[in-house]
């Protein structure tokens, strides 16, 4: 299957089919080392994409370019039809539609769970405090930890912290959610509670890009699985095609290593 046809099927399966993220010939270097090589990727509204690949393949860097935590040097990153450029104000507005969840949670340890969730609402969107708290409680309930609202992040387990991080990102009412290895830093017993929160979010129709090695999650939730190696997208396909019939030898090797160890 060519990339074109894959994206067409993806477009059909997605809910309304508007492209929300377009990466066009995106390249990035760290010094002389090229981390991303001419990445082309289109993500449609409501699509759930899982990105996998060996460490150092550029998958984290790619999704961090989508909200410009890392700045690419060539090509375009277009969100909702608007490309990032030199105008920082404009970039901030584009970025506001994108929420992100990190591998190491990155909650603010000096603020309570509730304050973590209201901080950006109050200061960026200038929501009144009471309203911001109501929004925060709504999302904390959705990830099933409203009772922890007044605790501090370091008092919570890893799984709870990551669910707070998800709620915190959702409080800004993003159109796109990026997950950068959200379960990699968790104890095995806590992975499921985070994955469940993510599955629920996927079912609500959120556009999601998830970097993860949780292949069961990919099988269950993804519309498209992307495999990256050495700064390139090697292969992309719907999950059943990707897992049962990988096209490239590199993909087969990778899958054999992570599925049968």
């Amino acid at each position: 299957m060519s990339t074109d046809t894959i994206e067409k099927t993806a477009k059909r399966s997605a809910q309304s089919g508007q492209p929300v993220i377009e990466l066009v010939g995106m390249s990035k270097w760290y010094g002389n080392f090229q981390v991303l090589k001419d990445i082309d990727l289109t993500v449609y509204e409501g699509e759930r994409i899982v990105v996998c690949g060996p460490s150092g393949s550029g998958k984290s860097t790619m999704i961090r370019c989508i909200n410009q935590l890392e700045v690419h040097q060539e090509g375009d990153v277009i969100i909702h039809g608007k490309a990032y450029g030199k105008d920082e104000k404009q970039n901030d507005l584009i970025r506001r539609d994108i929420g992100m969840v990190f591998q190491s949670f990155n909650l603010f340890p000096h603020l309570s769970v509730l304050e973590n969730c209201t901080m950006a609402q109050i200061w960026v969107k200038e929501t009144p405090k009471a309203e911001a708290e109501a929004v925060a409680m709504h999302f904390l309930e959705r990830v099933r930890i409203p009772e922890q609202a007044h605790k501090f992040p370091l008092q919570l387990s890893g799984g709870q912290q990551q669910r707070v991080a998800i709620a915190r990102a959702l409080c800004m009412n993003p159109k796109i959610m990026l997950f950068d290895e959200p379960t990699s830093a968790l104890d095995p017993e806590m992975i499921n509670e985070v994955l469940e929160a993510m599955i629920e979010l996927a079912e609500s129709g959120m556009t999601m890009i998830v970097v993860t090695h949780e292949m069961n999650f990919a099988r269950k939730v993804a519309d498209r699985v992307i495999f990256m190696d050495q700064g390139e997208i090697v292969e992309q396909a719907p999950p059943h095609a990707f897992f049962d019939n990988p096209q490239y030898d590199r993909t087969q090797l990778f899958l054999s290593q992570i599925l049968h160890h």
Binding site: N67, L69, D92, R95, R96, I98, G99, M100, F102, S104, F105, N106, L107, F108, P109, H110, M119, A120, W123, V124, F152, L154, Q155, R168, A169, M172
Partner: protein, 452 residues
């Protein structure tokens, strides 16, 4: 045997955690602590006894000298020596010089102004420790921004122009506002401006318009302050007459208050991505850090006047204060930078991903954490700065140390050095210990907030 294996297969074993037991009695409580820490072995017991003996000998000799053998009433040092020789302290000299040690050469009948000035400061910052007060940040900022005008008029006095009257009135307004707002917040739960807005503006009006009335009432307070201030006539006291503990507190107080915000700005500047700002801040920090404070004081005292245009004269005290401030800022900048270095990159990224801009991320996320980590070092710097102010005695300012030295140069108390130095040692210890205890207290409080 095989039967039991079969039953466990069909019915899983139930894991029953063991109940917790109390710790062995010899390891807890006062006796347990002493047994573990002081008398755990023969050699340890011997060390404990030896240590206790050394402490006893030292304390006994100090107390004998300072209290039991001391002379409390005498006309001059000769009398003291005749009475007890050198085995007891001669306190009358210190008692006679007490006012000078505390207030310098400030006119005796004006000393109440200094006391009033410090009382105003205590009144200003005391609400910061009231748990129910909400506008603590505003009170803190007002203390830093406005108190200096009020205090400098108390301490300096003299003629006021229109401009100076306005500044002093602003200072007085600040103090009055603090207590008005403390009163309304404790009584009605809203700040002074909001309360006045609600009282003056009709209830039908919008919040914005009510606030307008509230601000108007603050202007009313200012007008009253102007009237009060223009009634005051305080005689002029030259900074040359300032001295003793008073001068030490003025110099170190200004230095400490200035060093924190300027240190924060310099540290941020040094980490800036803008090359010019980074170079200026790095240059400033490295320059002032690599020169001893005495050298900087000498430079500002003797060389600065050479660079200023003819006729412009900067007060010697101001020169010393500026030197101390710049030196302290450079050191503080490096402390703050250490704290910033300790904040994981993920915090910046999370803040950016949430849409917070540079200044928002810095003030809301990064700085609170960096300052909290560095509290022990920051307070350590404050303590160091407080003690470093003794160096201004070298350029001829009569701070606490220089005043103590003057006691022994008085003809009647010639050679009386140990007693005044002992006395100011206690004063320095009191203030430094206070600061360090406060820092420990603060750490505990913040720690309790963030964990458990």
């Amino acid at each position: 045997m095989s039967d039991s294996t079969n039953t466990t297969r069909t019915q899983p074993l139930i894991f029953q955690p063991k109940p917790e037991r109390a710790a062995p009695p010899s390891t807890v409580g006062v006796v347990g602590w002493m047994r573990q820490n002081l008398f755990s072995s023969v050699s340890n017991t011997l060390m404990t006894i030896l240590g206790a003996y050394i402490v006893y000998v030292f304390l006994a000799s100090v107390l004998n000298w300072a209290l039991f053998n001391a002379v409390w009433e005498a006309e001059n040092r000769r009398e003291c020596l005749d009475l007890v020789g050198r085995s007891g302290a001669c306190w009358p000299g210190v008692i006679e010089w007490f006012d000078n040690l505390i207030y310098g050469l400030y006119p005796k009948d004006q000393i109440w102004r200094i006391n009033l000035g410090f009382l105003a400061l205590i009144l200003w910052v005391a609400p910061l420790w009231f748990p129910k007060v909400q506008s603590k940040v505003a009170i803190g900022i007002s203390a830093v921004m406005l108190y200096p005008f009020l205090a400098s008029y108390f301490f300096l006095g003299g003629d006021k122009g229109v401009f100076w009257t306005a500044l002093v009135s602003a200072g007085l307004t600040g103090l009055i506002w603090v207590w008005l707002t403390v009163f309304t917040e404790l009584r009605y739960g809203t700040s002074f401006i909001r309360t006045m807005g609600a009282i003056l503006g009709n209830s039908g009006k919008s919040e914005e318009e009510q606030l307008k009335f509230g601000r108007l009432s603050l202007i009313g307070v200012f007008v009253i302050a102007v009237v009060l201030v223009s009634q005051w006539e305080l005689s002029f006291v030259s900074t040359r007459q300032w001295g003793g503990l008073f001068l030490t507190l003025v110099i170190s107080g200004i230095g400490i208050t200035f060093s924190l915000p300027s240190g924060i700005m310099l540290a941020l500047g040094r980490r800036s991505t803008m090359p010019l700002i980074r170079m200026i801040c790095t240059g400033f920090i490295e320059l002032f850090r690599s020169v001893p404070l005495i050298t900087i004081l000498f430079m500002f005292n003797t060389m600065l006047p050479l660079f200023l245009p003819v006729g412009v004269e900067v007060n010697q005290l101001v020169r010393a204060i500026v030197a101390v401030c710049l030196f302290a800022a450079a050191y503080m900048a490096e402390v703050i930078r250490g704290g910033l270095q300790a904040i994981p990159k993920g915090q910046y990224e999370a803040a950016a991903a949430m849409g917070l801009g540079y200044w928002q991320a810095t003030t809301l996320i990064i700085m609170p954490q960096a300052l909290k980590i560095m509290i022990p070092t920051i307070v350590g710097n404050f303590i160091g700065l407080f003690k470093d102010t003794t160096l201004v005695s070298i350029i001829g300012l009569f701070d606490l140390l220089n005043m103590a030295r003057s006691v022994g140069e008085d003809t009647r108390w010639l050679g009386l050095f140990i007693e005044p130095f002992f006395f100011i040692t206690m004063i320095y210890f009191f203030f430094c210990f206070l600061m360090s205890q406060y820092s420990i207290n603060l750490e505990r409080k913040l720690e309790a907030g963030a964990r458990r």
